[in-house]
């Protein structure tokens, strides 16, 4: 076997190991519950190894699928962007699996959980390596469906499945865009290859860009689709840690980074992306600052932080966007693991109950604090650098101001977390509000959070010019703008001062929780199903009262017509027949009268008859 085919096999294994093992776990069902954790751990370690291998070698792989046109196959390949993302996905997934093994209750149906988790991971890995539209769409939608099953994992608890439904239907509404983009790709390029998209002819390019933008905004929970993030918090903590970091929301922005040349070539779509990203960062930042529930706060901040990646795709700093995506994945996975561990230990995710959480459990507390400080954008941690890398490409004062304001808000909500978790622990206030806590944080959970915290510190190295340039080479993004020392200084100072200000003015923060921002600024109403249900009911009424009644009325009319015709048949036609019959009978009776039997009368009749014939003869002649 030559090295090329070996790495191709590695890429195949990268996808099929999690997909295959996940499917096996699902088929085995509860019989595999005991084995599920270890199987998932082994699978995720293998995935990390395979991800590193394939990232280093950059293979590609193609399998026959829909066919018919070029790009109709199921093809994946690893380039710089994909390499960075598969490693990120693999690492975060491994940490999440490690956390889930200790966090899920002992009696839980683990095979189902890890089965779907592995399938979900495989789908994300395909999403970030797909080179054809069919492959992308398959992975994209399978990811959506498995996220539904993961969010609704505790299906027997009321509301959980509904939350999954909301997430799936919302992201699928965005997926319409991807179907349309596929059609536009075929129409505009004659192929379904991803790379050809930017070369689509004429109007089709704009259709494709609009479709991709819609799909990405839906998946990444940008405005106006953001509210599914809130619903998705119904899922188990490990699911939140995975969905809101390196997968799902990441998939949308990955697609924008991947198709940035297409967006740029249309002009308007790049501009739209930039503004949607910035405004989402601002609005969801404010929403995050108003939350009382740690997981809801983190969910809103996910949308906000991912907004910066969307902004990056819009302004063309794809390297910065990728860095922001990776850095956020590490930070947010770590924070969700911490939040999940506290939820299990203290029985609550309400901020009031989490006072001093970081002091109670020092290991995971330290990791949580590092991640929170990074989230605030404080130097020298990862998100400080990456946000500046993104902002380096922003032109124009309005967009710049909005972005900086959004960055400032990050420090506000991060400060809010810090105030709570670093406070002096109060005994038994608000504990066990949602479930009975275990009062312990298992060591693997702390370890997983710690690994991610280390990554957060290490990624701060991107501030060093040579490191950043090397990253740009990997990402094929040489020549993209870099922030100068002034940019780093301004954003660092902004983050630190806002953070300090937030802590100083902490008594005022409660006011935010009484604003509509606390209820996600009404964004949930945008995703409400009621107008659709009302339309469905209206249509059904028409269906039954108008169309079906119309059919039945037509049938009834035909029937009435038949009755009329039947009567006509009886009276007119049959009447005529009967009239003729009785006339004949009367004629017959009349004809009997001459039959007298008297010869002289017969002679007379014959004479009259001959006379009549004679007359007729004369007349006719």
């Amino acid at each position: 076997m030559n090295p090329g085919s070996l790495t191709t096999a590695g890429l195949a294994a990268l996808v099929f190991v999690p997909a295959g093992l996940g499917t096996l776990l699902l088929l085995a069902g509860r019989r595999a519950d005991r084995a599920a954790g270890p199987v998932a751990l082994i699978a995720s370690v293998l995935v990390v190894a395979l991800a590193v291998l394939t990232a280093a070698t950059g293979p590609d792989l193609s399998m026959p699928f829909i066919g018919m046109v070029e790009g109709g196959d199921f093809a994946v390949a690893v380039d710089g962007l994909s390499a960075v993302l598969i490693i990120t996905v693999a690492l975060v997934a491994a940490m999440v699996v490690l956390f889930a093994v200790v966090d899920l209750p002992r009696h839980a149906p683990r095979a189902r959980f890890f089965g779907y988790l592995l399938l979900f991971t495989a789908a994300m890995l395909v999403t970030v390596t797909a080179t054809t539209v069919p492959a992308l769409l398959v992975a994209w939608e399978v990811m959506g469906a498995t996220s539904y099953t993961l969010i609704g994992y505790w299906w027997n608890v009321p509301g959980k499945m509904a939350a999954g439904t909301k997430a799936f239907v919302t992201t699928r509404a965005g997926d319409i865009g991807l179907y349309v983009a596929a059609g536009a790709a075929l129409a505009g390029t004659g192929t379904l290859a991803m790379d050809d998209l930017a070369a689509a002819d004429g109007g089709w390019k704009h259709v494709a860009a609009a479709g991709i933008l819609l799909a990405a905004l839906g998946k990444s929970a940008q405005l106006p689709f953001s509210a599914w993030l809130s619903a998705a918090m119904e899922g188990p903590s490990p699911v939140s840690a995975l969905l809101h970091s390196a997968t799902m929301v990441a998939a949308g922005v990955y697609l924008l980074l991947r198709t940035q040349p297409l967006l740029e070539s249309t002009g308007w779509s790049a501009e739209t992306a930039a503004w949607v990203g910035a405004v989402t960062a601002l609005v969801l930042g404010a929403v995050a600052a108003a939350q009382k529930d740690l997981k809801q706060l983190l969910a809103a901040s996910t949308g906000a932080q991912i907004g910066f990646v969307v902004l990056a795709a819009g302004v063309g700093t794809t390297a910065g966007g990728t860095a922001q995506l990776v850095a956020h994945a590490g930070v947010k996975a770590g924070l969700f693991i911490a939040a999940g561990a506290w939820l299990s230990a203290l029985g609550t995710k309400q901020l009031t109950g989490l006072r001093g959480a970081a002091r109670r459990y020092r290991g995971i507390g330290a990791a949580g604090v590092i991640a929170t400080v990074a989230l605030a954008g404080v130097p020298p941690l990862s998100l400080w650098v990456t946000k500046d890398e993104v902002l380096a490409g922003v032109e124009g004062a309005p967009l710049h101001i909005v972005s900086l304001a959004a960055a400032g808000l990050a420090a506000v909500y991060a400060g809010k977390i810090l105030i709570i978790i670093l406070a002096r622990p109060e005994t038994a206030v608000g504990l066990d509000a949602e479930e009975p806590g275990t009062r312990t944080v298992p060591r693997p959970a702390a370890a997983a959070a710690a690994v991610l915290a280390v990554a957060t510190i290490v990624l701060g190295a991107l501030a060093l010019h040579p490191v950043a340039e090397a990253a740009k080479v990997v990402l094929d993004a040489e020549g993209q703008p870099s922030p100068g020392w002034a940019g780093f200084l301004i954003s660092g100072l902004l983050a630190v001062s806002v953070l300090v200000g937030t802590i100083a003015l902490r008594s005022r923060l409660g006011g935010l929780e009484r604003t509509p921002l606390a209820r996600w600024a009404g964004l949930g109403h945008l995703l409400s199903a009621s107008p659709w249900l009302a339309a469905g009911r209206a249509v059904t009424v028409i269906d039954e009262r108008v169309i079906d009644r119309g059919v039945l009325a037509f049938a009834a009319t035909v029937r009435r017509g038949a009755v009329v015709i039947g009567q006509a048949d009886h009276r007119v036609i049959d009447g005529a027949v009967r009239t003729i019959g009785s006339a004949t009978r009367r004629a017959g009776a009349a004809m009997r009268r001459p039959q007298t039997g008297l010869v002289h009368q017969y002679y007379l009749q014959a004479a009259i008859g001959f006379g009549a014939l004679f007359l007729l003869l004369i007349v006719v002649r």
Binding site: A139, E141, A162, G536, E544, V551
Partner: protein, 553 residues
């Protein structure tokens, strides 16, 4: 010869069932299964032979027809017993045999006159396969109408609820439709140069080329006839009633096979024989498709009865087929390649819908056999006592909403991608249908599977249903009394409303035995097509390409 055996084997077996009354009921049911299995095996053999030949041979419709037989029948009008298969009919014949086998297995425990039931289904199988294989309009029409007769007796004799009324509605509606079809066929005959009913000859040398008005009217007659059968908006209202009151196996055949007779008529008759008219009126066809997509989806969304909901989703799925076929007629707007993809998608959709909706209807049959009702609000929490049922229903629902990995995705992806160039606005509107179907299937899963476990008592249901009549399935604000009475009735009927696993397991038996054997293979086939579509596409693609070029003449 082999094809004729495939067509007539079931009806011969049906005749034997009726001729030998000494056969026990159980033996009759098993004979049905065996005959259906043999028929399927023969078709698999045909497929193998077809696939190995078709690589080199021309594509279909006018040439490259395999297993062709032509025997003089009514020489004065050039009607003959002419049958054969190509890439359009073979997949449908195969899926027909699969569904009939599933129906046979499903009905192994049928209590009510099982011998006549088996004979009727075998008769229906001959009629269905015969329609797909027919290459003569008169023969097509005869088989087409026989299928209506057969299904009438299935619903009227073995249905439930308002079965006689629904069966009569089904019969009259589709029969009147078939008369429109006959008018169209006669028009084709009169318009043809050589005065023939032969479908191959008519497709090779399309009639009425020079008279657009006559061609348009003939197309109108044919389209109305097929639209009733398919069914398309606004000719669909027989469908929910027929489905709701049909037995599970009957519903599976009705949705899985008989609806395809309609869509198949479009590809086999309307498109190749009236290419000019098809192109002229293609936009109308596209619009009819899109309206059906949305109408079906929205009405399905509002249903409160599982079976009616699935019936309406059929209208939605059939709409996608018409979208693809209509787009294939928009020659000026789209290139050959895109149109061929749209037609391929439409053909795959026919196969896929048969498998997925067939399994969905069988699975709702499980509900009826356990609880005597399809009403959503009478059921709940079934994932607890019946995890296998829940999983199967989940797979079928996700398949039906077009999840990749199952067959419907392949179909819908091809239809959308292929149609966008020809009809961008219509296609974009149609794509929104996938969101509504996603919502309605997920809400259905949520209602049936999660929450408190509720299993209604079948003994008390039928009376309840009969009084509500056909409106039982729909919540309407105009009927406040019914909703007002709901809570009380629920309390009386619900035998189980508990969270505890141990108690509820006994009351709702999970999928087992024949139910599993009948449904799971349908889902497995759908997944196979979804993951490895090439074997199916290799058969369909050349014929679809030939069809789109014939329709583009």
């Amino acid at each position: 010869m082999l094809l004729s055996v495939v067509i007539f084997l079931p009806v011969v077996a049906a005749g034997m069932l009726l001729a030998f009354p000494a056969l026990s009921n159980r033996a009759a049911s098993w004979l049905w299964v065996i005959v259906a299995a043999i028929d399927l095996a023969l078709i698999v053999g045909m497929w193998a032979g077809f696939a190995s030949n078709s690589a080199a041979a021309p594509s279909g419709i006018v040439d490259g027809i395999a297993y062709e037989v032509k025997i003089r029948w009514i020489p004065t009008v050039d009607a003959s017993y002419h049958v054969g298969v190509d890439g359009l009919s073979l997949p449908l014949i195969a899926v027909t045999a699969v569904l009939f086998l599933a129906a046979a297995i499903w009905s192994l425990r049928e209590q009510k006159r099982p011998r006549s039931y088996a004979a009727l289904f075998l008769f229906l199988q001959t009629a269905s396969i015969g329609t797909f294989a027919a290459l003569d309009l008169i023969l097509f029409f005869v088989f087409f109408d026989l299928s209506i007769v057969g299904m009438y007796f299935v619903i009227a004799g073995w249905g439930h609820g308002n079965r006689r009324r629904s069966a009569l509605k089904f019969f009259i509606y589709t029969f009147v439709g078939s008369l429109a079809l006959l008018v169209g066929f006669i028009g084709l005959f009169l318009g043809s140069e050589n005065r023939t009913f032969d479908m191959v000859a008519l497709a090779a040398n399309p009639p009425l080329i020079d008279s657009p008005l006559a061609a348009g009217l003939v197309l109108l007659a044919i389209c109305i006839g097929l639209a009733v059968k398919t069914p398309l908006f606004p000719f669909h209202t027989w469908l929910p009633d027929a489905h709701t009151d049909a037995p599970a196996a009957g519903s599976a055949i009705l949705a899985g096979v008989l609806l395809k007779l309609g869509t198949y008529g479009f590809v086999r008759i309307a498109m190749p024989m009236l290419p000019d008219a098809w192109q002229r009126w293609a936009m109308i066809i596209v619009i009819a498709g899109v309206v059906s997509v949305l109408w079906g989806a929205f009405t399905a969304l509002a249903q409160t009865d599982v079976k009616r909901m699935i019936a309406y989703t059929s209208v939605n799925h059939m709409g996608y087929i018409l979208l693809g076929l209509g787009a294939a007629g928009l020659v000026a707007q789209a290139d050959e390649q895109a149109r061929a993809i749209a037609v391929t998608g439409a053909m795959v959709q026919m196969v896929s819908h048969a498998l997925l909706t067939g399994s969905l209807f069988l699975l709702t049959g499980v509900l009826f056999s356990r609880g005597g009702t399809y009403a959503f609000d009478r059921w709940g929490g079934l994932a607890r006592p019946a995890p296998i049922f829940a999983a199967a229903l989940g797979v079928a629902a996700f398949g039906s909403l077009g999840l990749p990995g199952l067959s419907a995705f392949i179909a819908e992806f091809q239809i959308f991608t292929g149609s966008l160039q020809a009809a961008p606005v219509a296609t974009v509107i149609a794509v929104t249908g996938i969101v509504i179907t996603a919502g309605l299937f997920l809400v259905a899963l949520q209602r049936l599977l999660s929450g408190k476990t509720q299993v209604p008592n079948p003994a008390e249901e039928p009376a309840n249903r009969a009084t509500n009549g056909r409106h039982a399935g729909v919540v309407s604000p105009a009927e406040p009394t019914e909703t007002g009475q709901q809570p009380a009735r629920r309390d009386r009927n619900v035998t189980t409303a508990v969270d505890d696993d141990t108690v509820s397991q006994a009351t709702f038996k999970d999928l087992h035995g024949r139910e599993l054997v009948a449904t799971v293979p349908l889902l497995v086939l759908s997944i196979m097509i979804g993951l490895f579509p090439r074997p199916l596409l290799d058969v369909i693609e050349p014929a679809a390409a030939a069809l789109s070029s014939l329709a583009g003449r």
